[in-house]
């Protein structure tokens, strides 16, 4: 597994991390991107499946979504509403919300895949982090 290969050094730190985390009551099972992606759903439909007139985004692959959002964020053409919206998020947050949207089925009767799965990670994906930061 590509992701496990990438993260194998983490296993060395796991005993320490487990002790630290045991001090917390719980660890959230909620994907980091869910709350971020939910702000897309007012226009792009619940779970990314839009009604007429807006593009659906559910099930698109995460690297493409991320790349599209980065393109909006790098644009200065504020006549396109997606440009200021993309500017609301850090690169890390854009990646997290892309992962979440990619995990949603294109059609509601499809089984929901695991969040993120083994998505191919684009070269320009942001560095690993467990925390997200808003733009200051």
């Amino acid at each position: 597994m590509k992701l496990l290969r990438r993260w194998w050094p983490l296993s060395l730190a796991l005993p320490v991390l487990a002790v630290v985390l045991a001090a917390e009551a719980q660890v959230s099972e909620v994907p980091v991107g869910r709350a971020l992606a939910a702000n897309c759903f007012q226009c792009h439909g619940t779970d990314g499946r839009a009604l007429n007139g807006m593009p659906s985004i559910a099930g698109k692959d995460a690297p493409s979504l991320y790349s599209d959002m980065l393109e909006y964020k790098e644009s200065a053409d504020y006549r396109n509403i997606m440009v200021p919206i993309a500017h609301a998020y850090t690169d890390q947050e854009l990646w997290e919300l892309s992962l979440y949207i990619a995990s949603l089925p294109e059609h509601p009767d499809e089984a929901v895949p695991s969040h993120g799965g083994d998505a191919v990670v684009p070269d320009d994906a942001p560095p690993a982090s467990t925390e997200t930061e808003g733009e200051e």
């Binding site: 702000n39 007012q42 619940t46 007139g53 509403i81």
Partner: protein
Amino acid sequence: MSPYTRRDFLKVAGASASVVLLPRSLRAQVASGRVVVIGGGFGGGTTAKYLRMWSPDVDVTLVEPAPTFHSCVMSNLYYPGRIELNFLETPYDGLVSRGVNRVRDRAVEVDTAAHTVTLANGQPLTYDKLVVAPGIDFIFPPGLEDPAAQARVPHAWKNVAAQAPLLRSMLRAMPNGSTFVLTIPSPPYRCPPGPYERACMVASYIRRSKPRSKVIVLDANPDILAKPAIFHHAFDVTHRGFVEYHPNAPVLSVDADTLTAITPIGSFQAGVLNVIPAQRAGQIAFDAGLVNVNGRWAGVDPMNFSSTAAPDVFIVGDANGSSVGKSGHFANSEGKLVAAAIGAQLAGEPENASPMLGNVCYSAITLESASWFTNHLIYRGGAMVPVPSSVAEGPPSGGNFERMFAWGRNLWADSLI
């Protein structure tokens, strides 16, 4: 490199031979419990829906007396006849099919100590978490206190199903050459651009059907509060001759018999008088003892919109006293934030410590063009603060007019279906 989530951490941990056994407390618990939501608008509807989606073991009861939902968002297009009332209507069937218990009644009493809500029919509901989303009520100016006066001077700022037809019938019956006087209160009020959009929509009707008439806008504020450049251009250029804008003109009193608004800059006698009164949280927030901001709004911790007056209570949408703008889109966003927070609390999991809220607002300028405004907020330092680079507005265009319809339909569906 890939981002690293808590879920991924657990996956890696499970695959590793070096991992120590994780304590039971680290495993996620299923959120369960009983949630009552008072109010089936953008905020309450979204909270109920997303609770069922994200925490399917939670029992959710929505208390809303209206038979169906009618949207204030886009309702200004009704006055020139660009849409009819049914376009604004969304049934509550969608929420029911998601497993929300729909109670068609009014909440008349809340006991936050006993965790009970009493309905108008006397039935009590118990809750583990309560969501109060009643929207706004009005602070009527002198002369508009009694219902007979209010019937002659509609606000059309809530209760769309009843108020909008009343106002439109008055507009259509207005003689050519008469004036439509629209008054705007001081903030905070529901939908800051809404009154200016209404002036544009009434002007769009007048210029075609009653060309000797005009709209007189009496604004309590020193300038246009929302999209000022766009609306100044709309009033001064696009609808030139059909809109007369007066800043610093708060309504001191109203004579409902003569349809006259009295302001510090003079008295304005109208053919149709549309007073949008000053606003406060919906009455049930007062009755529940939740109002503690300027005597008008229900205070919240903006990280999760929990009440600062009572435990296990959340205030979603226009009724809360946060700095978040009072819009349907924001109320939807708040609803999701609260659904996540309640789900986390009921599961004993940590809450999102840096939540964001998103907002998009389209405003019709003519019957063929619309503009937009967007802003995102992030929780920082105990407040919801704007992300500066996310704040922008788009000029009126035909494309935006079409996208406004798609935005409205998707917003209603995301809130209630």
